[in-house]
């Protein structure tokens, strides 16, 4: 439950405006999560500024997805604080309330509603009343229709609008999920591996879209595709074994000795074989390090 300063509860459907006077929209402080003794997140601290585009990188198992699970309420951390703006304590809310206060998420494995049409998928995701009676009797307004059409155009699925989502290709499902995210008009978008399975051209369009969203929205992108990260990143945070290893601009991070050490230490560990999109040079861990060490020299 969300409570205002006087202690009276605010229903989550009310538009909760996060208090971002300090310029920070998402506070993650000293968060730890363990699975059967294994620390997936270890005293993690992360601050996302209002309107920024942040890239999160890190090897497989670094805890990137777990971090998103914590922010969106899927996993309760063992310790720590997660705040939306200064006042809204996200740990007090459940998944649907967190979604309604304005945090949207795209999953690593694209999850769309397979038995529904592309159109319905977006319709369900639209911002607005999520109550039962509205869903039963409510009709789409003209404005909402226009919004859906606009989103369909943005994600390039206008012709597929009435296909069942299960018939879409992997890349199209990724787009659909991004469309669902747009429809919800969240303040913060958490985007987990958006370009996996996309062609080079699609990847470029995704990069454009995410960059254009920053400013009005805060966007956190997790991606293994370094070329993609380089093309959109302003600030990059490197996660390693559940904590933040480094933070800064792409070149700062690349020249950080700790980062180099970690990536060198597990040269075969970083696998990005799954998400090398066509059109981008292969970016294995070694090449990544070579690029950064040559800069050093």
């Amino acid at each position: 439950m969300i409570v205002d300063k006087a202690g009276t509860p605010i229903t989550a459907t009310d538009n909760v405006q996060p208090d971002t006077r300090h310029g920070v929209i998402l506070y993650v402080e000293d968060v730890s999560v363990s699975f059967d003794g294994f620390k997936a997140l270890n005293d993690l601290n992360l601050y996302i500024n209002d309107g920024e585009l942040r890239c999160l990188i890190g090897a497989n198992g670094a805890g990137k997805t777990t971090l998103m699970d914590v922010i969106t309420g899927k996993i309760r951390p063992d310790t720590g604080k997660v705040n939306f703006g200064q006042q809204v304590d996200l740990l007090q809310l459940d998944e649907s309330e967190i979604a309604r206060v304005g945090i949207g998420r795209k999953f690593q494995k694209p999850t769309v509603f397979e038995a529904l049409s592309v159109y319905k998928n977006i319709e369900l995701s639209l911002a607005g009343d999520k109550g039962i009676w509205t869903s039963l009797f409510g009709k789409l307004t003209g404005e909402q229709r226009d919004r859906i059409d606009e989103i369909l155009r943005t994600i390039g699925l206008t012709n597929e609008a009435f296909y069942m989502a299960e018939r879409l290709s992997h890349g199209q499902k990724q787009w659909l999920e991004i469309g669902m995210l747009l429809a919800a008009e969240p303040r913060v978008l958490l985007v987990d591996e958006p370009v996996a399975g996309m062609t080079g051209q699609e990847t470029e369009r995704t990069a454009e879209l995410l960059t254009s969203l920053a400013g009005e929205h805060s966007v956190v992108v997790v991606e293994h595709d370094m070329a993609f990260v380089r093309s959109i990143a302003r600030t990059v945070t490197v996660l390693h074994q559940g904590s933040v290893l480094a933070e800064g601009s792409m070149s700062e991070v690349q020249s950080n000795p700790e980062v180099i050490k970690v990536y060198l230490g597990e040269d075969s560990g970083e696998d990005s074989g799954d998400d090398n999109s066509e059109g981008y040079p292969s970016e294995s861990g070694e090449e990544y390090i070579e690029a950064s060490s040559s800069k050093e020299g």
């Binding site: 969106t72 899927k74 459940d94 998944e95 649907s96 979604a99 309604r100 949207g104 998420r105 999953f107 690593q108 494995k109 999850t111 769309v112 509603f113 397979e114 038995a115 529904l116 049409s117 319905k120 319709e123 369900l124 995701s125 999520k130 039962i132 869903s135 039963l136 009797f137 409510g138 012709n159 597929e160 609008a161 009435f162 296909y163 018939r167 879409l168 290709s169 992997h170 890349g171 199209q172 990724q174 669902m180 919800a184 591996e193 996996a196 399975g197 062609t199 074989g273 799954d274 998400d275």
Partner: protein
């Protein structure tokens, strides 16, 4: 001329939705049965006997019950193996009213108390029998009793996120517990004899063939209304949400809905439809006893829906009627083998038509050129929705 008539006929069928077809079929069948029951002498071979009328009425109650199960199972993925409980509660609500209508015509001639209470030496009606002599109260209870049970059960189960097999087992336990409770004489529902020996309903004698026909017609109307309501629900945004919940419940949460409440809601609506089915069933068969709560009954309903084809609404109706008809026929010959036959039928249909009879229908319709997709003037929307139209890029091998 003849060709042209056939052509327009085909055109009309193509344009009809399944709502039109189901309600239309019900309407025609009702008129036909009523007419043949009333207009022809018993000796005529066109005559439909009073027995058959009640039998059809019973099938329609089953169809209503199957519709209720399809709503929760087919559309929302809640495999309820306890819908017999809601059916039974609706039936008991009606049974209590019918008991009170007997008045002093019972064996003991007690105007206030039903016979079984006199037999138990009770001197006054238990508090929960209050109001049971009123028709309106009965109608209310037919909805409220199953509704409350479904609400309490749903709040407990869905809010603690119980699903899958565990949920199915819980629904079985629920109906089993009710059966045991209703078997007890002290419960005040007639123990294992249940409620029976009804005389009249709302002033009409239950022995009168016209009353039987009337009940049949009322059942058909109830089925048509329930079908319309269910169709409205599943076509609405709420319907899309419950289907989304069936396939990806946690994803629904991340979009901002509370799927547990949607599940409770659809479960309650479904329970109420099942309650109505039970209430209409009781006067037509003349008895309600705790056997209706037997776990086996509830499983049978699920088999109807599976055979008819879930996630279509009309499939449930087809399944319930066909299987019940087969049961009537079969049990007349070898009653003890019925369960084996039902099991065999279930296995066969699941193997040959995983989507049930309804799943095989579009193929049949296409062969006869009756389905909307072969129509030349299809709308854009139909075009995109049809399975055949449009080519999609082959799915790319994607990471993750």
């Amino acid at each position: 001329m003849n060709m042209k008539t056939t052509h327009t006929f085909v055109e009309i069928i193509r344009k009809m939705s399944h709502l039109h077809i189901v309600v239309g079929t019900l309407f025609v069948a009702t008129i036909y049965v009523s007419f043949c029951n009333l207009a022809f002498a018993e000796s005529s071979f066109l005559h439909v006997s009073d027995y058959t009328v009640s039998l059809f009425g019973k099938y329609l109650c089953y169809a209503l019950l199957a519709l209720a199960v399809d709503l929760v199972w087919g559309y929302c993925g809640i495999l309820s193996l306890g819908h017999g409980a809601f059916f039974g509660l609706g039936g008991y609500a009606m049974g209590m009213y019918l008991m009170r209508q007997i008045g002093d015509r019972g064996v003991y001639g007690n105007a206030e108390l039903p016979d079984f209470m006199v037999f138990l030496n009770w001197t006054e009606l238990p508090w929960y029998w209050a109001g049971s002599s009123s028709f309106l109260w009965m109608v209310l209870m037919v909805f409220v009793a199953p509704g409350i049970l479904a609400f309490v059960f749903g709040m407990l189960a869905f809010r603690s996120r119980v699903s899958g097999v565990y949920l199915s087992i819980m629904t079985q336990a629920m109906t089993y517990a009710l059966m045991l409770a209703f078997f007890r004489n002290e419960m005040g529902f007639g123990g294992n004899n249940g409620l029976t020996d009804f005389k009249e309903i709302a002033g009409f004698s239950l022995q009168d063939p016209h009353t039987k026909l009337g009940l049949f017609v009322v059942t058909a109307i109830a089925l048509a209304i329930a079908y319309w309501v269910s169709n409205y629900i599943v076509k609405s945004k709420l319907g899309a949400i419950i289907t989304a919940t069936r396939d990806a419940e946690s994803r629904v949460r991340f979009v901002g809905y509370k799927p547990e409440y949607y599940k409770v809601w659809i479960f309650v609506v479904s329970a109420m439809i099942a309650g109505v089915a039970g209430a209409l069933y009781v006067p037509q068969v003349g008895i309600i006893n705790p056997g209706e709560f037997s776990p086996l009954n509830s499983i049978e309903i699920v088999v109807w829906v599976a055979i008819g084809g879930r996630y279509t609404l009309y499939g449930a109706i087809i399944g319930a009627i066909l299987v019940s008809y087969a049961k009537t026929r079969f049990t007349a010959i070898m009653p003890e083998a019925w369960l084996f036959a039902l099991g065999g039928l279930f296995v066969l249909v699941t193997l040959l038509f995983p989507k049930g009879i309804a799943g095989a229908l579009p193929g049949v319709a296409r062969r006869f050129g009756l389905d909307a997709n072969t129509n030349d003037n299809k709308t854009n929307k139909n075009n995109a929705q049809s399975e055949e139209q449009g080519t999609l890029k082959a799915p790319r091998a994607g990471g993750q």
